[in-house]
Symmetry: D2
Amino acid sequence: MQLEKYIIDEHNNELIDKHRRNLEQVAEGINGLDAVLKKLAAFNIAIPSWALGTGGTRFGRFSGGGEPRSLEEKIEDVGVIHALNRSSNSISLHIPWDIPENASSIKALASQLGLHFDAVNSNTFQDQPDQKHSYKYGSLHHVDKAVREQAIQHNIEVINYGVQLGSKALSVWLSDGSNFPGQLNFRKAFQNTLESLQTIYDALPDDWKVWIEYKPFEPNFYSTTIGDWGQSLLLANKLGGKAATLVDLGHHLPNTNIEQIVSLLLMEGKLAGFHFNDSKYGDDDLTVGSINPYQLFLIFNELVEGMDTRGMNHSTAIGWMIDASHNVKDPIEDLLQSVQAIKIAYAQALIVDKKALTDAQNNNDVALAQEILQDAYRTDVRPLIAEASLRMGGALNPISTFRRLKVRDQLIKERGTQTVATGL
Amino acid sequence: MQLEKYIIDEHNNELIDKHRRNLEQVAEGINGLDAVLKKLAAFNIAIPSWALGTGGTRFGRFSGGGEPRSLEEKIEDVGVIHALNRSSNSISLHIPWDIPENASSIKALASQLGLHFDAVNSNTFQDQPDQKHSYKYGSLHHVDKAVREQAIQHNIEVINYGVQLGSKALSVWLSDGSNFPGQLNFRKAFQNTLESLQTIYDALPDDWKVWIEYKPFEPNFYSTTIGDWGQSLLLANKLGGKAATLVDLGHHLPNTNIEQIVSLLLMEGKLAGFHFNDSKYGDDDLTVGSINPYQLFLIFNELVEGMDTRGMNHSTAIGWMIDASHNVKDPIEDLLQSVQAIKIAYAQALIVDKKALTDAQNNNDVALAQEILQDAYRTDVRPLIAEASLRMGGALNPISTFRRLKVRDQLIKERGTQTVATGL
Amino acid sequence: MQLEKYIIDEHNNELIDKHRRNLEQVAEGINGLDAVLKKLAAFNIAIPSWALGTGGTRFGRFSGGGEPRSLEEKIEDVGVIHALNRSSNSISLHIPWDIPENASSIKALASQLGLHFDAVNSNTFQDQPDQKHSYKYGSLHHVDKAVREQAIQHNIEVINYGVQLGSKALSVWLSDGSNFPGQLNFRKAFQNTLESLQTIYDALPDDWKVWIEYKPFEPNFYSTTIGDWGQSLLLANKLGGKAATLVDLGHHLPNTNIEQIVSLLLMEGKLAGFHFNDSKYGDDDLTVGSINPYQLFLIFNELVEGMDTRGMNHSTAIGWMIDASHNVKDPIEDLLQSVQAIKIAYAQALIVDKKALTDAQNNNDVALAQEILQDAYRTDVRPLIAEASLRMGGALNPISTFRRLKVRDQLIKERGTQTVATGL
Amino acid sequence: MQLEKYIIDEHNNELIDKHRRNLEQVAEGINGLDAVLKKLAAFNIAIPSWALGTGGTRFGRFSGGGEPRSLEEKIEDVGVIHALNRSSNSISLHIPWDIPENASSIKALASQLGLHFDAVNSNTFQDQPDQKHSYKYGSLHHVDKAVREQAIQHNIEVINYGVQLGSKALSVWLSDGSNFPGQLNFRKAFQNTLESLQTIYDALPDDWKVWIEYKPFEPNFYSTTIGDWGQSLLLANKLGGKAATLVDLGHHLPNTNIEQIVSLLLMEGKLAGFHFNDSKYGDDDLTVGSINPYQLFLIFNELVEGMDTRGMNHSTAIGWMIDASHNVKDPIEDLLQSVQAIKIAYAQALIVDKKALTDAQNNNDVALAQEILQDAYRTDVRPLIAEASLRMGGALNPISTFRRLKVRDQLIKERGTQTVATGL
């Protein structure tokens, strides 16, 4: 299915008067409103193909209805999201769950919905039916060169798929690690990983990047070979200028100051991009901003400051993507909530009074520095998000429009209640 | 020093027009605005006497100027805070740091500033110069009955001071615990604690309560004898109806769901009160709402729902107090920020659409339940706080007024730059 | 397959001389050696039926060969373990994964292998194909009475299966919880759970117990309705004397002092039993003693002290069970390692000089108390375990005997390489 | 006071027969016993001057008797420790707590006790009475160049003291950080720190090193400017070959895999040294090996493997030091326990069957790899430590000899009960 703009407009019309008043009110306190709105309008967050179905845990999975049954239907779902929020103009594919049999028709479908293809993701954390070697004990870090070689070839194959689709980056997440002390020689595992990544790196097209994700635990519960930002950065530095570090918000030990890591990676020119989600305990993959929205704002505060300092383009210099698991919500609603939360945090960061903040920092006026940040954070910026969406042809309130239009009911009618999206 | 109302009014007058517009705007979306404002106006948070000086860590302390040199000056400082925010109408004393030599003159001073005395706090975590037995290995849990007896007598003495001042509760925090496996028999330590508390309990006046605080670690780093809410509740249940559990927000292990604990303690009729602060790592004692304001809102959401269900009076049924350490900020500014953050969270909780939330919960409509909570949370409720303060004779913006009036400069002039408040 | 005793004896004969020397050496330092050996010989740990196949994570599962294909084969595997270590004389079934079609023949098979049936486990964390209501939003805590009723009936059905097999306890682990703030009313969820458990409790035979397990997170990532020991104990106290709290070692927040919880539950007469495993990050379900064996020893130190104080029989008064997930090891080897680690910790706890420890505690001689505990812990008690096993007809070194006898190869020959055990 | 060898020998003589039997027994299972004993005999761990007095927390301090009142008495205490265990042949000074007024007489005193001077430690986390600028808001990272300059000069002065004493390294721990979001610009703080360290680095003598310590929190509770190993390594790499990373075991977030970090720092040639202690919650500074001795063994397992791979001398290539806080134990006993625990872990690591472990790793035989590690860990290696101590002229059981000789009583007689060591 495809959402027509006029339908969205109809719903907008009911909300427009109240929106205008709200916008006017909040505008009063904002310097450079138009620049803020332009940045918000230009900001897009990629949707991963695996996020469109219901997720689960090792204890089970409770699927919902109307899940996409094919790559085409996944792209359609992203089209629905983008039509509503005008902030999700790309999709990130996962190989082998989403092998595009016919790249040009897939590209045409996406293009028709205003979408393009973000980074492609390889998978060496699961065995595929026809696979020669098992990844039970790892892939790029494996003690056996034949297994490493197989995993390298898979990554190169993923790059090739990406080239056909117009992607510009390979995103690598390795589950390689160990469950028990003694299982692994950490140094050799690191060196094998480096050597494997070097071969993949050499196969990258000139205008491509490789994004190296880190994660402290799960599915391995004693060590992970790329376990923290320090290890990822060490690899990225050894590989070269096309390699950088990817930050997934849920991939940190308890109490980690993520915003400081973000600031330093930006300083080093090595921040590849983000996988957005929220969490309370581990890699919980919850809706962005559902648990700790202030942390999200603080991260965006570092991003805006750091990108501006380096003269980077907010919307294109870094890869933005959601990576969440929708276990108890409609996946599309969950993604709409996530994009909304990201844009709110971004808008709050944009309206921070940078000059005053720098002055307060230079005076060690800690109380004032906090006031300045919280003044931005406590502002109700939702009218700004709504206005940016409106200007781009989207909905003032994407999730309520989604419900009003009974999109899920139509998807169930089309696809049935018993479908299960490919993926986890 | 004492802040005259007319000076505060002068500053308010400069802000009043903008305030009126902001209030009008936010009022549009709120049902029962007047009831909300009344609750906000009635809401007060006690200030502990030890929070008026600069705090420190085991690595040192960097004092500020103009710290209060006596109990009288501490009361004056609370008077300043209350004059500004009209939400801090009581002070919580700590014995022996704040022994009131002349109770009636102290009461008169407080009363003149609109203040009364909240819970009194005992101290058996430090040795006093003239003390017979040491608390090096604990107090109420000590293996030696003589030490326990000394600590019991101290608590009874604290109750007596409290009676003179009009307090109605004894707040007990024990640092009793152990640093190493083997040091302690956990069961005997618990039973000694219970027996000691029973004697103190028996000495409580009829209209008094005893609040039992828990904390997992620090200053002991292997075990704490009242380490979590379960242990505190076990004690409170064994003691009887005048005993209940005190929640300090910083006294939890990483990732604890505090709001769930709050809900269950309310359910059991055993929630004594709160020590408010914020933290990222441990008992960091940071400004309330400076690290995770959404969690604070979620806690207030449980409080409002739970108190309303039990028909409890929001402002009096539970003890509200700040317990923070002001290491790098002016203590008064820090306290003003903390009270402000608490009132914001409370206001957001008050405007949650309870009916809609209950419906969403009954329908397992998880996305909608989140929308309802976040709709309240994302609302800029600061005009509500300002209006409630204004109606009570306080400042529209307490911290900016405090700075405008150069209160700290005057305090330094009166008290000097080298003062160190009694306490830690 | 079934291991004959003479084959085990053959392997023992090769090791017996060295064993004798080792035993003699360690015996020199132990008071009451014979009593220690008798306790070790009498100590058994149940094997859960779901632990005999390869486990996995939400990211996948890499199965091994020769996994049991039926309940009968699971019982055979436990028989192999018990023949080797003489410390695993019972099996804990999970319904519906292990429905015994013919109870009497199942009992006969078990009995022939020297096994009986430990607690039975219900499952309301997954939906079964023929189920009317879904557990997507919980079971015993569900907002909908019909769902609760279905889950109650399932638990009663599990009791009935258990009665046929001679079990004496129902073990209840609820995954009920929430993923997002707002999803749940904590209080109502708790009260629904209590009401549901009360109905199940009323259906228990007179000589049965119900064990209430707690867990802070996973598969729900914001709250769990029975989330910690305090919540479990609250339920157990409200239910009555047949209800008690089950401790799974992996079900705690970071840094929890588990041994203190164990001590207090014993004090209250409410420690139902244990699910043993080890973990570094969360509910990692790793081999017992593979990550933090000292903590395991400290827990047993509390168990021995607490059970002796209450005059409890070590081997029968509490339910002992392994609950682990064998993702990268042969499940039988993993279980043999786990039982070995448990018996080592138990033996170390048995040889602690209790009198000296109590004296050191009473003198606050912290350094000495540590020396006493570590003296026991640093002792190489493996000869004691070996001797106890030998006396019961088991192997001196179960895991090396398992390998020598190429048991897994035979199981693969019988069952094939592509089997997948029923369960997760 | 000074312990004469003959007194120690007298006590040894009472224990020697049993020791011989124990040694013989454990020797049976160890390949290359003599090489192991030689390594153990050569292994020394430095004692920091601040560890000889009773430590405390922000809540207070309970001093013991007989604490050293001067640098000379601190050196005497280290002399006592070294006489007993022959494994503590150096002392690490802290400036300004231990300014050596007369370097040559201090060196002579140390030399007479068989001691030399390990790394010198600077202190910019506290203000000194005569100091021009305050470190309230940091030192090397400070926004104000004058403060940075003062802190740089202090570090250079510390180097100069060290040169006089024969030290070869400057150990830098910065408490610089922030307590609140907004207080700091992370990037500028990092860059200021780098620039400051560069100036200090340039002042290092040719044969000196600078050790850069990291710590995630305390005394700052939102961010620390050198917060983790990645940030320290980034600085060390930018500085050059004389800079490396110092690992303090307590300076990690919950659940960190420290042994993996150790392995990677060794791989990079950037592991400067260790501050040993143990902890359960944060930087608890407890006795080494008192909480998680298996983790300590795993760290030594990486150290031995990594140092051997790089051909490093175990006893000299890396800086070994204890850094603990003795709040409830006699400091000397606590240090003796710590050194003992370190040597036990080291001995266990030395006797790991490396060849078999490598084979198991290459075969992904996870269960066997665990067996190999635990076989070494479960061995009672105390006779090896005792024998190495004996050969070097130390006590078979240092702590029991310390008690037998009533050393503390003599120190109290000499120094009194009311002394407080300089330091925290």
